[in-house]
């Protein structure tokens, strides 16, 4: 029974990572189809990516793209909303359509023996939706109520307040789902126009992974999607927003026992040259469980259930955000600790141990990130939406491993300047106002 319990057992020989081999076809209408057969379990993940989203809607019609996606299943010329619902529910497939800033994604997950009918369903929603007036009214009022209910959720309030502050009226400052003001103004004809302009095969991509075979898949896609016509426009990335000085913001939630807090600034787009250094820096600062911020606030102080940071890479510069919820009584101290951790990252080199841990966590986890059909379609979508290179994942490990401690410090220095950090808390304002004021001028929002 000779096991040595005193040290970590060494790994055996690593298995080779097999990245999915993507096959592709472009139909005569320019719809691109990409697929990865995986036969282990009888399921299929489908994702249709359309160049569209909030960037494609007029600024005063925030939520138009999202409303359109919600209405896709609400009726065609010969099938009403209930008919569509019964069809989908009999297939047993899951269907979800959602808008982002620059694309709309329709995802289906299904048992593989209903694939052909599922493709027909998907095709029907993107080519034949009719948007009956009564359904537009209903879905619009459902969405308006939902916006109202979002105010109940402190984390939603915090997230929205932060991006409004950082981006103001810019694209990333608007909620993709629209606002209480914009939603009621959207009419059926706006939805129809949006659908006509943006739901086109040219520039669209259908991704499939799972228990599929090339022949039958292409045949089904051809049968149901080849008559779809239209020429795409490319959604433009938003112009680089102005960088503003950071502020301290407080949203009152009377009686709140905890404070939802955020520390944020405008970050960077996907294609930044120091992309991989930023990923490593964030992992050490707040990306991993064992990151500095989480270790400090959770494992040392016991102030929170968890604290994390992230860079939102997008086509344009998405936000950098530290997010956590702490006991209200330590709100100001928590901000100071977070700012302290950021400052140390900017001033001092991270240790070799931290650097190694982050690199290993990021690169050795690749097999886990490409495990299921859903994950694979999601990774392919990410790669295409953000124009990542064909070799992005092939070279990822090397790119991450090349990052040095000095590069980590440099990206923190460049992107995480103290004077541009906005601090935001959603909590009982009265109980935190005084201690927060010691950090600077507090504005109530």
């Amino acid at each position: 029974m000779g096991v040595d319990r005193t040290r970590r057992p060494p790994p055996s020989t690593p298995r080779r990572l097999r990245l999915p081999e993507i096959e592709g076809v472009t139909l005569s209408n320019n719809l691109r189809v990409e697929f990865v057969p995986r036969r282990e379990v009888p399921e299929v993940s489908l994702r249709l990516i359309l160049e569209s989203g909030a960037a494609a809607e007029p600024p005063d019609q925030a939520g138009l793209s999202e409303l359109t996606t919600r209405l896709l299943t609400e009726g065609t010329a010969d099938r009403d909303a209930l008919h569509m619902a019964r069809w989908l529910d009999r297939l047993g497939a899951s269907y979800s359509a959602s808008s982002g800033y620059s694309v709309t994604t329709i995802s289906m997950h299904l048992f593989s023996d209903v694939l052909v009918d599922a493709i027909k369903f998907l095709a029907t929603t993107v080519t034949q939706a009719e948007f009956p007036e009564n359904e537009v009214k209903r879905v619009r009022s459902e969405r308006a109520d939902e916006i109202d209910r979002e105010r109940d959720e402190p984390s939603m309030v915090a997230g929205q307040a932060l991006i409004s502050e950082l981006y103001e009226d810019g694209l990333y400052g608007r909620p993709v789902g629209g606002t209480a003001e914009s939603i009621p103004l959207i009419e059926r004809r706006d939805v129809c126009d949006f659908y006509g302009n943006w739901y086109v095969p040219d520039g669209a991509l259908l991704i499939a992974c799972g228990d599929i075979e090339r022949g039958p898949l292409i045949e089904a896609v051809e049968a149901h999607l080849c008559k779809w016509q239209g020429v795409s426009q490319r959604v433009q990335a938003p112009p680089d927003p102005p960088r503003k000085p950071g502020r301290i913001l407080l949203a009152d939630r009377p009686g709140s026992p905890q404070a939802e807090i955020r520390v944020g600034t405008i970050g960077v787009p996907y294609g930044t040259p120091n992309h991989h250094a930023i990923i490593v820096a964030n992992a050490i600062l707040g990306g991993l469980f064992n990151s500095r911020i989480n270790m400090n606030l959770r494992e040392e102080k016991g102030w929170t259930y968890g604290a994390r940071s992230s860079f939102g890479f997008r086509r344009g510069a998405g936000p950098f955000v530290v997010h956590t919820a702490v006991e209200s009584g330590v709100t100001a101290q928590a901000f100071q600790e977070i700012l302290g951790e950021i400052k140390t990252m900017r001033k001092e080199l991270v240790t070799e141990d931290e650097l190694d841990l982050a690199k290993h966590a990021l690169t050795l986890s690749l097999p886990l990130q490409f495990e299921s059909a859903r994950q694979i379609t999601s990774k392919i979508a990410q790669q295409r939406i953000y124009d990542l290179s064909e070799e992005y994942w092939e070279v990822y490990r090397n790119r991450i491993e090349e990052v040095t401690a000095e590069q980590v410090r440099e990206v923190c220095e460049t992107y995480l300047a103290r004077d541009r950090m906005t601090l935001l808390a959603v909590t009982d304002a009265e109980s935190v106002l005084e201690p927060l004021s010691e950090l600077g001028t507090v504005d109530l929002v």
Partner: protein
């Protein structure tokens, strides 16, 4: 398109001399291995005044042991490119990680140190720190969330004083405060022996080799007497229970909970299918009536908790503005009454079964999820083969079974009603 048995996962079962149950499900389709250790202890085993203890204890098992430093679990697993977590529920506590396949040994070392060498690593300081973390978890996930206290209120109303399912797994604040180091030692000695645990491996490994390694890491840990499990029985003669609470919310939400078939009972798949039929999909009974036609609800969900004893069947609806809780409840109950009266249409059942099937396959595609499924089947049902049988068991559900189960479960004597209403309307 009837549900059929369409998966067939290779499965081996072993038991070490110390009572540790071992389930091996080799699958080389990805270079990964999922480890899952499930202990047959949960919040139902807690004594009065110590609610939340099983869950607090789970946190402590991430704080190191004799040979593993504090935060070592997180650090080693992340360093290997893996993921890890633990969860606690009424009947069980589990610890799991998915790792690159060549790091199987790392997972075994960590789990064996937890099981065999936990006590030397625990200190008052670690207990105090994790107590604070857990109190913040309670604040974040329950107290400071809309409708966050609803489920614990339902449980309090649905079960009599002293019933093992009466309190929430997260526990009450004052009980979390009361936990002592002595409680920690006692709980470990009572419930964390190998003979109260099941170890599951799913992934890319060679079964005989893996078993040998498991024997080496775990074989030397001694078994010990496990306390008799608490008796968990259906509260009888309790009648309909009703509660109302206020919360910082814009609109009311109504919870209907019926005592139902547990995960262990032959009716489980039928009740579960009923929940899909009633609430999953826009054409399901509840969504069609409440969300689409009457527009009294913004959201509806219907689901079954797969508990070891006394199942719980929930229907939960959130009101549209202007609709009060009584009106919403009446609409919900009308849906149930109509269903009991008129029965179902064959295509409704076919759809529900297809949705169940899609959901099952989704639960089995990743190794970690599959290990979780297998561990629950083994620990709560004593039936590891449920991994392969579940599809056919759901496939056998027919119209008469659904109608019968609706008749027996959807019964006022089994019902608990909770209204969560906005503070302003007080």
């Amino acid at each position: 398109m009837a549900v059929s048995s369409t998966v067939n996962f290779e499965l081996e079962e072993h038991r070490l001399a110390n009572g540790l149950r071992v389930l091996l499900q080799p699958d080389s389709s990805a270079p990964l291995v999922a480890l899952h250790v499930m202990y047959h202890v949960g919040s139902k085993n807690e004594r009065s005044g110590r609610t939340g203890f099983a869950h607090l204890f789970e946190h402590l098992l991430f704080q190191g042991s004799e040979h593993v430093p504090r935060e070592g679990h997180f650090k080693y697993i992340q360093d290997a490119g893996g993921t890890l977590n633990g969860t606690t529920w009424f009947d069980r506590t589990n610890y799991f990680e998915t790792l690159p396949a060549n790091e199987l040994e790392l997972g075994l070392w960590l789990e064996a140190d937890r099981m065999g060498f936990f006590k030397p690593g625990i200190t008052q300081e670690k207990l105090d720190n994790q107590r604070d973390v857990v109190k913040n978890e309670r604040l974040q996930s329950y107290e400071n969330r809309p409708y966050g206290l609803a489920f614990e209120t339902v449980l309090e109303s649905a079960y009599p004083q002293g019933h093992p399912y009466r309190h929430p797994t997260i526990g009450y604040m004052e009980d979390i405060d009361a936990a002592s180091l002595e409680d920690v030692h006692k709980f470990f000695d009572s419930y964390y022996g190998p003979n109260n645990a099941t170890l599951v491996l799913v992934g890319d490994f060679e079964p005989s080799e893996a078993l040998e390694r498991i024997q080496m890491w775990f074989g030397g840990i001694s078994s010990r007497p496990i306390p008799e499990p608490p008796e968990v029985v259906l509260p009888s003669g309790y009648g309909e229970c009703r509660r109302e609470i206020r919360d910082k919310v814009q609109v009311p939400r109504v919870y209907l909970m019926f005592h139902s078939a547990s995960f262990n009972e032959p009716e489980f798949e039928t009740v579960d299918t009923l929940s899909y039929l009633l609430g999953d999909g826009n054409s399901s009974r509840f969504k069609r009536a409440l969300v689409y036609e009457q527009q009294v609800a913004a959201e509806v969900s219907v689901f079954t908790w797969p508990t070891e004893s006394v199942g719980m069947f929930f229907a939960v609806a959130t009101a549209r503005p202007g609709v009060d809780a009584d009106h919403l409840e009446a609409s919900m109950r009308l849906v149930l009454d109509d269903f009991k009266q008129d029965g179902l249409m064959p295509e409704e059942l076919e759809g529900a079964q297809n949705r169940v099937r899609r959901s099952l396959v989704g639960q089995l595609s990743r190794f970690g999820d599959r290990a979780d499924f297998l561990a629950h089947a083994a620990v709560l049902r004593n039936d590891p083969n449920y991994l392969n049988d579940a599809f056919s068991r759901y496939g056998l559900v027919d119209e008469i079974m659904v109608e019968e189960v609706a008749e027996s479960v959807v019964d006022e004597d089994r019902l608990t009603v909770l209204h969560v209403i906005p503070e302003e309307t007080s």
